[in-house]
Symmetry: C2
């Protein structure tokens, strides 16, 4: 299998640092969630990995060879993003053909079935499609291209709940039939929580979390109870956020819980992925009082 | 309280019918979810109610007076939508002032606090803002304007999870302090499920559901078990969708369950709002096989 590796990738625009040394090894045949706040550098990272823009420093390698000017490596990667790379006058089925030519293959049967299921007119011109249908034809291309690494930057932009549901189902189906690596960058975290296996969280240009979803959730705790007891129980733990509700306090803890004795009045629950993300990436000092 | 009523509202564009007779009475001091697929007519409806576009037939009245050319009524309504109505050269704080002038009031204190919490620069020019921050300043305007009916069309477009979370919290806070009616049109159904009290679902230009969230969920059932038993139990019920998983079948039922005897092998669960919406509004005949 092709191994894709990012080493100390940096990107500066003048004085502004967007990526500040990102090192990640992407595992083959794995579905990733790439999470980060607006402006955290997710899109920049995806554009660098797929060689659309140059890094300021660091390297991206496939099987230990730099991907820059490396056609073999670039053919194993496809990036679906908001950028409209195809001529607006091209029809959807012409885009399918052009992709087949560029990538040396394309699953036309699947593309045709998906176009039907999504209600996409393959004779429509690219430039005439709504935001939703522009996302849809790009998703279809991403699912039908024979690359080992598929990067999806906000794949469900403009899609209604039915089409998002259909997309997630289709992604899982095509993944089961032909495993490859998907990297999904999205703000709709709860919707992909049950699909992704691994998680990369970027915060202000650096990797904050690179772990399996299972391990991450096992480390994520909600501690609820009376103010004083919760404060005592969580003292010394990695508290990433808290909320107050009258006499009750909720503290969010990321990491191991020590073997302290839990008072009867304090409860420990799991945390969902979106809540964990919010607490991990909120700016300092925004305690919420409900 | 001001009563807002839509009666048999229709909208045609040439031969194309977008709204096909919508009758809804909006209750005062209530948070609504307005749901529908892409193209169902939600935005058209909001634009007609707030008098931005004319209806082909039917009426919108406030306290039994038509809202057309009715400044008193229009001052009680504010629509936040993707349309950019303000001059791109205006600064955010100038937009706040202009809104105050038009609506005869504005909560400048709250606006200033929210701008700080969202990290919005109030000296930035409208036309220079990102999609996310354009949504944010419009949300702030919507929460600070002294109108009785606030319509929000895809309010969280371009917002990351943290900002969506902050918006939902702020909405609930300002609603508790000064109750009024919010109508939220969005595709992110699960995210507003715990906020909204009533639900209006539009399907191809007509009202499919107009009910409280509580009643709607009480009518929504997931029936799971062996194929034959599930088929027998749900015969005669309002089955809105089904899925198969090997020998197991899931059927989604909307409406009363009869007093049939439930076999031990069959389980009944509740359905979440997004799943209900998807099953109610999917096109005919798209049975999903997992």
């Amino acid at each position: 299998m092709n191994e894709l590796k990012l080493t100390e990738v940096k990107k500066h625009y003048g004085n502004k640092s967007v990526l500040d040394g990102v090192t990640v090894q992407l595992q083959p045949n794995t579905i990733y969630g790439l999470l980060g706040r607006n402006g955290a550098g997710k899109s920049t990272l995806l554009n660098i990995v797929t060689n659309r823009i140059p890094a300021t420093a660091g390297s991206v390698t496939m099987n230990d060879r730099d991907v820059t000017n490396n056609d073999e490596a670039l053919q194993q990667m496809y990036l679906m993003s908001e950028a409209n790379l195809y001529n607006p006058r091209l029809r959807v089925n012409e885009i399918f053909k052009e992709t087949a030519r560029m990538y040396g293959g394309f699953n036309f049967g699947l593309a045709s079935r998906l176009a039907h299921e999504f209600g996409l007119n393959v004779n429509a011109r690219n430039g005439k499609l709504s935001t939703g249908y522009r996302s849809i034809y790009k998703l279809i291309v991403a699912l039908c291209v024979p690359a080992d690494y598929i990067f999806l930057d906000e794949p469900t932009l403009g899609l209604d709940a039915n089409h998002r549901d259909l997309f997630y189902r289709t992604l899982m189906d095509t993944y089961a039939e032909r495993p490859r690596t998907f990297v999904i960058a999205t703000h709709l975290i709860e919707e992909i929580a049950h699909i992704i296996e691994r998680l990369v969280i970027i915060k202000t240009g650096s990797v904050l979390v690179d772990s399996s979803v299972e391990e991450t959730l096992a480390q994520s705790h909600v501690i609820l109870g009376p103010q004083a007891e919760v404060a005592a129980y969580t003292a010394g733990l990695n508290v990433i956020g808290e909320e107050s509700l009258g006499q009750l306090k909720v503290r969010y803890v990321y990491g191991a819980l020590d073997d302290k004795i839990l008072p009867d009045t304090v409860r420990i629950d799991g945390m969902d992925l979106q809540k964990l993300f919010i607490e991990l990436t909120n700016e300092e000092g925004d305690e919420h009082v409900i």
